[in-house]
């Protein structure tokens, strides 16, 4: 029975030791299984680049507010096109790699296109570069935008092409504003949505060899956020759960006299 007591001790030791792992300071791009999605953790933003079987979230950008990743905006490859071919599901050969802190996505078909996703100090940069002038249509989604460029009705409309597109979104009790900076100027820009719900799509069309989008949440002018539940430090729950359960287990074991 001594061997069994040691085994029991080993289980409790492993339980406690591994429960502290989520507290390790792991930042940056991480290859994340099981299906091959990439995740980026750091400071004010969190990014998710979906695995190859999905066309959405390429990437999905979250802003860290009160410890919670708040949905900011999503670029969809499934609904974006280059020269009339969908970036996802259009037959292009796609590969993804992280090099020096930047995620590169290579699309190969009739032309060669590279997308990169680079976290910045105060935002996230998504860029496209190709070996020839391309007709690129990008769609940026959110369920739902409170407003885009001051428009809140979910009717389809064209926007005046501009280097900066402002949008607002609601999370919990607060409405936040964010900016989408684009270069070069899009040849066409439009918004649309779902009646009864709100705006959910920004479409931008570019004719260029290079396109850059920067998404950022300006620091000033945001509402004082008071979420129902502040989950900063929720990772401490892991050791807390482990310690409580181990203590309960030991107490019950001793009380019933087992071993």
């Amino acid at each position: 029975l001594r061997a069994l007591a040691l085994l029991e001790l080993l289980v409790l030791a492993m339980l406690l030791a591994f429960s502290f792992v989520p507290l390790l300071p792991l930042y940056g791009w991480q290859g994340y299984g099981p299906a091959g999605e990439y995740t980026y953790f750091a400071g004010a933003y969190r990014l998710r680049y979906n695995d190859p079987t999905f066309g959405n979230d390429k990437p999905h950008i979250f802003a860290h507010i009160a410890g919670r990743p708040v949905d900011l905006i999503e670029l969809s490859d499934q609904e974006s096109e280059v020269n009339g071919t969908r970036l996802w599901g259009g037959g292009l050969r796609v590969s993804t790699r992280v090099v020096n802190g930047t995620l590169y996505v290579r699309y190969e078909g009739a032309l060669s296109l590279v997308k990169y996703v680079r976290p910045l100090e105060g935002g996230v940069e998504i860029g496209f570069a190709s070996n020839a002038t391309m007709d690129l249509t990008l769609t940026l989604w959110r369920w739902y935008y409170s407003s885009v460029e001051g428009y809140s009705r979910p009717a389809a409309r064209n926007l005046t092409p501009s280097a900066s597109i402002g949008f607002a979104f609601t999370d919990g009790p607060g409405t936040f504003t964010a900016q989408l900076l684009v270069a070069p100027l899009p040849s066409a820009a439009s918004i649309s949505g779902v009646e009864g719900h709100g705006l959910n799509k920004i479409s931008l069309r570019f004719v260029s060899r290079q396109v850059t989008l920067v998404i950022r949440v300006p620091e000033g002018g945001q509402p004082l956020y008071a979420p129902l539940l502040d989950i900063r430090g929720s990772n401490y729950l892991y050791p807390l759960i482990a310690l409580s359960c181990a203590a309960c287990y030991l107490y019950i074991s001793r009380r019933t006299g087992a071993l």
């Binding site: 289980v11 919670r68 019950i252 019933t256």
Partner: protein, 434 residues
């Protein structure tokens, strides 16, 4: 109630639910692999091709979650899938089950309901057999299995074949004393999901001093491997890849290691998984030795080794306990209440509404209701779902440890989940001597 009525009721309950629920990914895997098999294609080749493609695309050495079991289920499911084809004609009932549900999933109605009913039939029939076998030894065990929410969930809602593994493991133990070769054959069949191999020590320690008996058991075991041998000879590399896949999967599932899922870097996670696997093997050997030394009976030895798997193995899916439940219900070192943990975990992992996709995707209004439920569920659980899953994993691990201890202390184990009288939910484990 007569045992035959119990069987009929248990089967009827499962049949009534079967057409309307599924685990979309797993059902897509089963349907696709059986379809490939019947068309003369090699499902193992497909899995390896997908894994290669995944590596080329992402640069991450991750496995593809496809058909990664022994070949036996392909032969079990094939007649039922053929019957579906005969009744429904050509055309897939489920397309895009491994893709994005919102845009890539296409379900054909009413063919999907028929496909789900027919493909689940062998497992439902297996459950009927389990109830019948249990009723001959313990009516209360048979009743518990017939109406077990967990057993019904895995068979009819999830649609996986772990209960069939449970039937074969139970049958192997029941035939062990009288017919070694048959017992070995049934045990070999139960290894279609590999994890029952953890219980091998319980059989081997009883046989190693009797070479003829060991040979008979081994012969039966080897005979059960013939379908898999066919695929091994067909393409050794793709078949062995599927086998190795199960041994190299990163930590996941309902266990005490779930906190590691927060380690988003796959490579560190794989390294930690290797360490845990080594500890698991060591624990398995130790428990096997202790069981043999103390002369614990076969049923309880197999149960104890499967509990060791639940406690120490780096990957323990929600369905795993279904393979132990039939035998466990006859053993004093098992508690049906243990099944509560994977049942809760499934709700906070896949979400319960995920299993109701066949039902809710059948009309526009139901689909809208499903979207609303999904949003509501997500809003409530998203902030703490990982921690909740961890809590259920720890509950299952420590509950199993408590039961494993009881194997050796000779105590009757009761695992009790009590609701605190002040109204808040409070979990406590209580172990009491009989």
């Amino acid at each position: 109630m007569k045992p035959s009525s119990l069987v009929a009721l248990g089967v009827a309950l499962r049949l009534a639910l079967a057409p309307f629920f599924m685990h979309t990914w797993d059902m897509a895997t089963i349907l696709m692999s059986v379809d490939q098999f019947l068309r003369g294609l090699n499902p193992y080749d497909y899995v390896m091709k997908m894994a290669d493609e995944l590596y080329r695309t992402t640069g991450i050495p991750i496995p593809y979650y496809g058909y990664a079991y022994l070949a036996t289920p392909l032969f079990i499911y094939a007649p039922f899938y053929l019957l579906y084809r005969l009744l429904a004609g050509p055309g897939e009932p489920l397309i895009g089950g491994h893709g994005y549900i919102y845009t890539g999933l296409h379900l054909a109605y009413p063919q999907l309901f028929l496909a789900l009913l027919l493909i689940k039939l062998p497992v439902i029939a297996g459950d009927g057999l389990i109830i019948g076998l249990l009723a001959r030894r313990s009516y209360s065990a048979a009743k518990a299995y017939a109406f077990s929410p967990y057993a019904v969930f895995i068979t009819s809602i999830w649609g996986n074949f772990d209960p069939l593994v449970g039937l074969l493991l139970l049958a192997s133990c029941l035939t062990f004393e009288r017919h070694r070769a048959l017992s070995g054959f049934l045990y070999g069949l139960s290894a279609m999901k590999f994890y029952t191999l953890a219980a091998a020590g319980a059989f081997i320690t009883r046989l190693y001093r009797e070479p003829r008996q060991l040979a008979a058991f081994s012969l039966g075991f080897s005979a059960s491997m013939i379908p898999s041998l066919y695929f091994l000879l067909l393409n050794p590399s793709s078949f062995l890849y599927a086998l190795l896949f199960q041994g190299t999967r990163p930590v996941n599932g309902v266990n005490i290691f779930y906190s590691l899922v927060d380690v988003r870097g796959l490579l560190p996670l794989l390294q930690l998984t290797r360490v845990i696997s080594l500890i698991f093997l060591g624990a398995l050997l130790l428990v096997t030795y202790l069981l043999a030394k103390r002369g614990v009976g076969l049923f309880e030895s197999v149960t104890a080794l499967m509990l060791t798997y639940v406690i120490f193995a780096p990957v323990t899916n929600e369905q795993l306990l279904a393979s132990l439940l039939p035998l466990g219900l006859l053993c004093r070192n098992f508690s049906h209440r243990l099944t509560l943990f994977p049942l809760l975990y499934a709700g906070f992992n896949s979400s319960y509404q995920y299993f109701a996709i066949p039902l809710f995707f059948s009309s526009t209004s139901l689909r809208a209701a499903w979207d609303a439920v999904n949003l509501w569920w997500g809003a409530w659980v998203q902030d703490f779902q990982l921690q909740l899953r961890y809590l259920f994993g720890v509950g299952l691990g420590l509950g199993s440890l408590s039961l494993l201890k009881g194997t050796f202390t000779g105590e009757r184990i009761r695992l009790t989940l009590a609701l605190a009288s002040h109204g808040g939910s409070h979990h406590s484990l209580r172990q009491a001597g009989a």
